[in-house]
Chain length 553, copies 2
Amino acid sequence: MTKKVIIVGGVAGGATAAGRLRRLDEKSHIIMFERGEHVSFANCGLPYYIGGAISKREKLLVQTVEAMSKKYRLDIRNLSEVVKINRDAKTVLVKNIKTGEQYEESYDDLLLSPGAKPVVPPIAGIAEAEQLFTLRNIPDTDRIKAFITEKQPKSAVVIGGGFIGVEMAENLKELGLDVTLVEMANQVLAPLDYEMAAIIRQKLSHHGIKVILEDGVQELQENGRQIILKSGGKLAADMIVLSIGVKPENKLAEDSGLTIGERGGIVVNQYLQTSDPSIYAVGDAIEVTDCVSGKPALIPLAGPANRQARIAADNISGRKKTYAGTLGTAVVKIFDYTAASTGNNEKTLRRYGMDYRTVHLHPGSHAGYYPGATPIHLKLLFTPDEGKILGAQAIGKSGVEKRIDVIATAMKGGLTVFDLTNLELSYAPPYSSAKDPVNMAGYVAANIIEDGIKTIQWHEVDEVIQSGGLMLDVREPHEQQGGMIENTRNIPLGQLRERLDELPKSEPIYIHCQVGLRGYLAVRILLDNGFDAVNVDGGWVTYSLATSAQLIK
Amino acid sequence: MTKKVIIVGGVAGGATAAGRLRRLDEKSHIIMFERGEHVSFANCGLPYYIGGAISKREKLLVQTVEAMSKKYRLDIRNLSEVVKINRDAKTVLVKNIKTGEQYEESYDDLLLSPGAKPVVPPIAGIAEAEQLFTLRNIPDTDRIKAFITEKQPKSAVVIGGGFIGVEMAENLKELGLDVTLVEMANQVLAPLDYEMAAIIRQKLSHHGIKVILEDGVQELQENGRQIILKSGGKLAADMIVLSIGVKPENKLAEDSGLTIGERGGIVVNQYLQTSDPSIYAVGDAIEVTDCVSGKPALIPLAGPANRQARIAADNISGRKKTYAGTLGTAVVKIFDYTAASTGNNEKTLRRYGMDYRTVHLHPGSHAGYYPGATPIHLKLLFTPDEGKILGAQAIGKSGVEKRIDVIATAMKGGLTVFDLTNLELSYAPPYSSAKDPVNMAGYVAANIIEDGIKTIQWHEVDEVIQSGGLMLDVREPHEQQGGMIENTRNIPLGQLRERLDELPKSEPIYIHCQVGLRGYLAVRILLDNGFDAVNVDGGWVTYSLATSAQLIK
């Protein structure tokens, strides 16, 4: 039997599914409807075309309708919107956007890949703001590019500090604009935790982007040239980019009576079938299972969309394949920095009441004796008993996403922090150290679980000091000149064994060094000598970056 | 009870074990004997100091005897050689190299970390060759550096094309010398397979290094200034670096009656105990289990040495820890190229009679539409039925060792090629593609296992053509101008469906494209239309690189 498959949406998920369906069956009739003009365009590249890193517009058009139709023998109909699904009759109603004409098309299986759309809140004055943009597709990109070319704006306000907001801020800055980034939360880049995102906030500031946190837009005045913030502050801007997030394009599914989840995404089972078994859905529009928490999540990322599309196509073609959920691995470039994360962050674990431990470390990207090594700020989250890996975040100039990819792979393999110590990763001086940063993270975590090494986090330091706790800095005196926690005593590690009699056994001694390693050694020495000792996780570097007591370069 | 532990060898394994022993126990008496002057030096950095990438000698001295003694409260005795072990009395005989004096020292546990030494074959004239060097330690390095500075050699011959040979060839070339590399095998870098190593051979040639394969040194004449090759060829050289391999420093162990394995390494159990349970051994001197083949192997690499040292120290301190064997993950820089590998290569699998399949692919290091993407030549080896991963090799300019690290981690997690398709790896245009090269490798492998897609390898192509097989190139005609397999027919993929009647159903059709993807699509089309079709794995790129029909830039 020759199958007739209809795909709604021709970008990431839709285009991937179409190709896979054809590879699995030369005979089936595959119709792909796309509301816009373009299919399979490089949506992740749009900010970089605006900023000029991608110089040619045609680079964004990964596949043309003609080439893709030919390569996969597809019936691609762009500028065609599916406006209704008649599930009983198994037909869709299609509107030709150019002519307004409507017609029906039948299907055996239907695949929804409608994506997600930018959230546009009902801000007073937003309708009149002619220089306010969102960024989702090629026409949006063309509009922004044309505006910049023609109007030569001098300043821009980016509203929202997520991936797209940060990428747009960087790219507009690269074009020479004065850029202000406004974010409602107390940090940018929600997938990171506060102290990690603080590094990125600093990085943005360092490159001249003004970052305003914990504030939002109250009203737009003067056709959007004047922004009134919720705090009462005012910003003037020649252009505004609104990127406060996206929401699933769920209207067609909802109108058709398909089940929509608590987070607004289309609900699918493990075969990526919606509540109607003849209708599959993939990509940004669906709710997926967060592999760590087991909760439903919206993960608008290209990788999962592609993977889901292939699995849905396999199932439509009669192969039973399941989608296991997602870790949400993500990465973003911020000038010469990279920030990447996988799994759950601390905020999420706390929200779900999950028990966890965390370690921070700052190893070099490669052997310190080989030129060019730079620190990687690495955070690992794990369960306190078995050392199951819950998530990781990393920031730095080099080798950052490599370590996150390794940890994401370890999580897929069900490995623990103990297993991280045994990973055999490529080592030569230009690439890593004999103990790779991922191995090191495993060792630091294992020390906590196996030996009960106690640590406190950066945000607990001030409390310890205020309550009169004994904070001991085991760095060399000259290192304190680069900054130090106030009211700490100093005994360099090398002198500690001889100066034990200066320390009390009656109270815990909170120890810190630069990055945590010497602090750990000091804790071992004190514990073995009958003291109660606690290490400040991540040392001065984590504390100072989180509190901005130290400024990045 | 206070333990007394003696460590023989103060570099990678010995130094790591000493630190770990102290961290686990403040009280134990730890003596570390090192025959040389330096402990814990950067042995992997030595070629780069000679070449000048590492500019300061002190960078090589990671730890000084003084600093390390203090930090870990160790009794470090350098220039002290352990010349004998009295296992019954549990003592060692130590020779002070400066004074010649000998003395005994008792131990509760003994850890051997003697390393491996360069193989120096009995070549006629070698004793008289004053400008012949091997490279193992700081004094060797100083000798080479001094020779270059004082004698200003114009030419060098490096004998042996392993990691150190290739690194030395590169570094001497960077210093401006005329460099010739001589290797007995038909390829450089034994951990790679022939067709992958062929890329590196080309790379070396491209940078002006003369590579002579399948030849060795017969004799040295004129105090080593004239090299007579086994082939009868002659080379003149101002200096010679001999780097044909290393062998375990096993004399002390052998003299003490400890079991030595078939490959010459000290035999240890999973706790890293030698045949004497009070004597542990780690590092380049021991035989380890190859995790893939299960066979004993010598893996002289820093990562495993460090890991073993920590495990041995844990066991000495009464914690039961086991060493699971090694994948032998390794990486080497060759000018602006990186070559990395993990697990077993095809040569090893064939030697052990293991059944395997292999795929070659050439994905971009990141999204093609973002500037700077370069190809990664990737080879994956796996079992034909369950898709268990057996090994991987990768070469390219960027993102190479990242992919090998991910695959090495997947192997540790027991993941299959099917799991590789589901890995969630960091994706943004500057870092990867929505389908990462590792995902792609998984897909290509899964197609072979799940759908029985047949492939032939590059070395089978000429045979197919010579026996009159039908070879079909599905690239566009203009692509053939960059080089093509002789006697192939050309039907571009886009025309294939319309031109099926030009092809026979009576014989297999061997298809190739540039990298293998369009070839795979063509195979799908032909199979679904009743033809017998076979894809040339890795396409024109693998074939041409392996046969040098295409030259790298």
